[in-house]
């Protein structure tokens, strides 16, 4: 799918690899009930420490970074090996929260665009379970217009000096390095004056705070940069070519959000709150096992869920064989969001009042989940932007008018007069 996967010759077949992984997992990894995984609230510290530990175990056992090249600490194997590993690793406790954004987005992008040193150091440290990576892209003033970055990187002597603010950075509090997009030229059009930096997050000049969401989660952070100093070796790709790097991140993110990345390992839920709704259990809890209307609603949601899984494979294969363009990853991104919406709506409708008034049966969780329903349609770029992408880059329709196209950024209107 991407030019990032360097496939190496292996004498071991997928089947042999899967058998070996199965035996190793049984002997070395803690099991967990896939229906009831350990709590992995991304807003807490503990799950991250645990994830690093688990990743270390995978690395030592030779099952980490399956699709990353060998020279950067991976196994250099094709996706079929990763899928086989995913199958046999169901039921084991895995560092699922490291998939996003560390492996599937950040490491994948560094692999595409980073310097040799960045690849050697950051990717392998992540694969060894020693480092967590995040994206520092969105800004308070930006929203969907991601390239309208106003965080600045100014050249002072042989240093880059960063000032500004970033927001919606997933789990940045638990991370070691971040990919930070900053403006290095103001007299060039929006996309042409940006540079990507790889930033150590405990550096002086970074003030990090948590964002509290509707569902109480504090997994997202905002960061304020006050004269943060960086060296030239922090630049990812070329100066003023940061948009290409960011585009790779977005590309990897779109694929990964829907579950189509070869760099994600393990396919279980991240934790209790991320668990797919168990409709059979819900119908029983509701005492509606004989209610055909409720059964039909649940069946419809299960159909949507099954088709989403089939669509992930179909789009992946389609991009691989050229029947779909790479931008078709947005199909998965939207399908994921639509499915979350459909499932949350279905569960809320099935549950009725115990979903909104806590009667002590635990069904109140359904109402609470519904409140954050839109998060899946917003995170990683809104579904509106994704629909534009399908329209323009998959179907070939003309691009949306943009008042800032080709205009030097310092002349672009950024607020109402």
């Amino acid at each position: 799918m991407t030019e990032t996967t360097s496939v190496q010759a292996t004498t071991e077949t997928v089947e042999e690899f899967a058998q070996r992984a199965k035996a190793w997992l049984a002997a070395n990894m803690p099991t967990c009930d896939p229906q009831d995984p350990p709590s992995a609230d991304r807003g807490e510290q503990q799950p991250w420490l645990r994830a690093r530990e688990l990743q270390k175990m995978l690395y030592e056992g030779g099952f980490a970074g399956i699709c990353f090249p060998r020279e950067y600490g991976g196994l250099g194997l094709p996706i079929s090996y990763q899928r086989a590993f995913d199958e046999v690793s169901r039921g084991y406790e895995l560092p699922i929260i490291l998939n996003m954004p560390t492996f599937a987005i950040c490491a994948a992008t560094i692999l595409d665009t980073g310097s040799e040193a960045q690849k050697r150091e950051r990717i392998s440290a992540a694969i060894r379970g020693e480092e967590v990576l995040v994206q520092l892209l969105s800004e308070p003033s930006g929203g969907s217009d991601l390239a309208s970055v106003i965080t600045r990187a100014d050249r002072k002597g042989d240093k880059w000096v960063i000032n500004g603010a970033k927001t919606w950075s997933t789990s940045a509090f638990a991370a070691d390095y971040g990919l930070l997009l900053a403006r290095t030229a103001w007299d060039l059009p929006k996309h042409e004056g940006l540079t990507m930096f790889l930033v150590k997050l405990d550096s002086p000049g970074i003030d990090m705070r948590r964002i509290k969401q509707v569902n109480g989660s504090e997994e997202f952070c905002e960061e304020f940069f006050d004269n943060l100093e960086l060296d030239d070796d922090a630049v990812v790709g070329e100066v003023n070519d940061g948009w290409s790097v960011a585009s790779r991140q977005l590309y990897h993110e779109r694929r990964a959000v829907g579950g189509g990345s070869e760099f994600s390992s393990g396919i279980g839920a991240e934790g209790k709150t991320d668990q797919p709704v168990d409709y059979v259990e819900l119908v029983e809890e509701l005492g509606q096992a004989d209610n055909e209307r409720v059964r039909e609603m649940a069946g419809r949601a299960l159909v949507r869920r099954a088709v989403h899984e089939q669509l992930i494979h179909h789009v992946y294969d389609g991009v691989l064989d050229g029947s779909l363009p790479p931008a078709a990853g947005s199909i998965i991104r939207i399908s994921h969001a639509e499915n979350v919406q459909f499932e949350m709506d279905t569960a809320l409708a099935m549950t009725g009042s115990p979903g909104v008034v806590d009667d002590g049966r635990g069904l109140f969780r359904i109402g609470n989940r519904f409140l954050s329903r839109q998060a899946a349609s917003l995170g990683g770029g809104t579904t509106e932007i994704a629909r534009n992408i399908i329209g323009e880059r998959v179907l070939g329709f003309s691009r949306e008018y943009a008042a800032d196209r080709g205009v030097p950024f310092n002349q672009v209107k950024r607020k109402r007069d």
Partner: protein, 380 residues
């Protein structure tokens, strides 16, 4: 389904496409309709020569597939048929064949199978009963043992191509046991009355069996095998429908996209309006999801996988739910021309609307998918 890879399959598909284009175009469909005809038997024989009734049949019974996976090959034909919503008994003939070749007494029906493969005979599956929904394992039609065989009494309806069929495969009950029978349409006591459908050329029939005597060798499979045969026939009928709908959606989405690029309003192409662009994006997602789930169902049914039943239900539910609304979106995007008789859109809309409700509505299949999840949970 889009996995056409091998040169043999490419040739098979292109031959089918060329044949359809020449002999079953949209204007031909309109002509047949105007003449009050469903399809031409000579045409079906020529289609059969291309292998359209041989894919499911093993070579020793006179059949043969292109790739070794007859279900997948047949689905490719169905997808091509969708491009022109062509007429013909592709579905009923192959659905009946799916049952006949799996039957323990397949040899007893060898002559019929051979004639079906050659396109000389038309068969259809009588599984629906008046005023009843999709319940293939339930029947009120009775077969009573007689000294020479069985006497069949009861009524079936919504029998595709029923007025054109030479033989009818029907589900009946012998005591408490399910049993399928192959009955000649001209047997004494069989009455066939046409039923109109939404489609321009697909016709159905109400078939009454009034004391119809059949010999003992009219049975298809044993009572113990009946449920498995009926399930298999249903799966084949369902995946063929889905494959044909994918062909329809592909064609309609294609010409509607072209329309949006060509048609200008207020000095801009329709395709430049974001409201419409987003609608097209949604349709693209539905189209690819229909392809994905149909492909998965074809693979499961072709491989006779354990999940073949539920895979067919998932596909049938999703495709059934999304195809007709997608066609209506395309009508809307065409504007007024879209609701005229002259425009071809309604030919496609008719077929997908028909298929939505035949062999189980999406709602029926949702219940099946839920029951499957429930059974799986109980088993674990």
């Amino acid at each position: 389904m889009s996995e056409v890879a091998s040169p043999e399959r490419l040739l098979f598909v292109s031959t089918a496409a060329a044949f359809l284009e020449k002999e079953a175009s949209l204007s031909r469909v309109r002509e047949l309709h105007a003449a009050g005809t469903s399809f031409d038997r000579g045409w079906w024989q020529r289609a059969a020569k291309l292998g359209w009734a041989s894919m499911l049949v093993p070579e020793e019974l006179g059949g043969g597939s292109v790739s070794g996976d007859g279900v997948a090959d047949l689905a490719l034909v169905a997808e091509q048929v969708g491009h022109t919503v062509a007429p013909g008994p592709l579905h009923p003939v192959n659905t009946v064949l799916a049952g006949l070749i799996d039957a323990e007494n397949a040899e007893a029906h060898a002559t019929t199978i051979e004639a079906l493969v050659a396109g000389e005979l038309i068969a259809s599956w009588a599984v629906y009963e008046p005023r009843r929904g999709w319940a293939p394992l339930e029947t009120t039609v009775t077969a009573t043992a007689t000294p020479d065989g069985f006497r069949i009494d009861g009524v079936k309806d919504r029998v595709e191509a029923g007025t054109d069929a030479d033989v009818i495969l029907l589900v009946a009950r012998v005591g408490d046991a399910l049993q399928q029978f192959l009955v000649p349409a001209d047997a004494a006591g069989v009455t066939i009355e046409p039923q109109e459908s939404l489609d321009l050329v697909k016709r159905y029939a109400l078939v009454t069996f009034d004391g119809v005597s059949v010999s003992a060798d009219a049975v298809v499979g044993s009572p113990g095998q009946s449920e498995a045969l009926i399930r298999r026939q249903a799966q084949v009928a369902q995946v063929l429908q889905c494959a044909e709908v994918v062909g329809i959606l592909d064609t309609v989405f294609g010409f509607t996209t072209q329309w949006a690029l060509d048609r200008h309003s207020f000095g801009r192409p329709l395709a430049s309006y974001q409201a419409l662009k987003h609608r097209f994006a949604d349709m693209k997602i539905w189209l690819e999801a229909c392809r994905a789930t149909t492909r998965a169902a074809i693979a499961a049914v072709g491989a006779r996988a354990d999940d073949a039943d539920v895979s067919a239900s998932v596909a049938k539910s999703y495709v059934g739910e999304h195809a007709a609304p997608m066609l209506q979106h395309c009508v809307q995007l065409h504007g007024g021309i879209g609701v005229t008789w002259e425009h071809d859109l309604h030919l496609f809309l008719r077929r997908v609307t028909l298929y939505r409700s035949m062999f189980g509505t999406p709602e029926d299949h949702n219940l099946r998918v839920y029951a499957h999840a429930e059974a799986q949970k109980e088993a674990s």
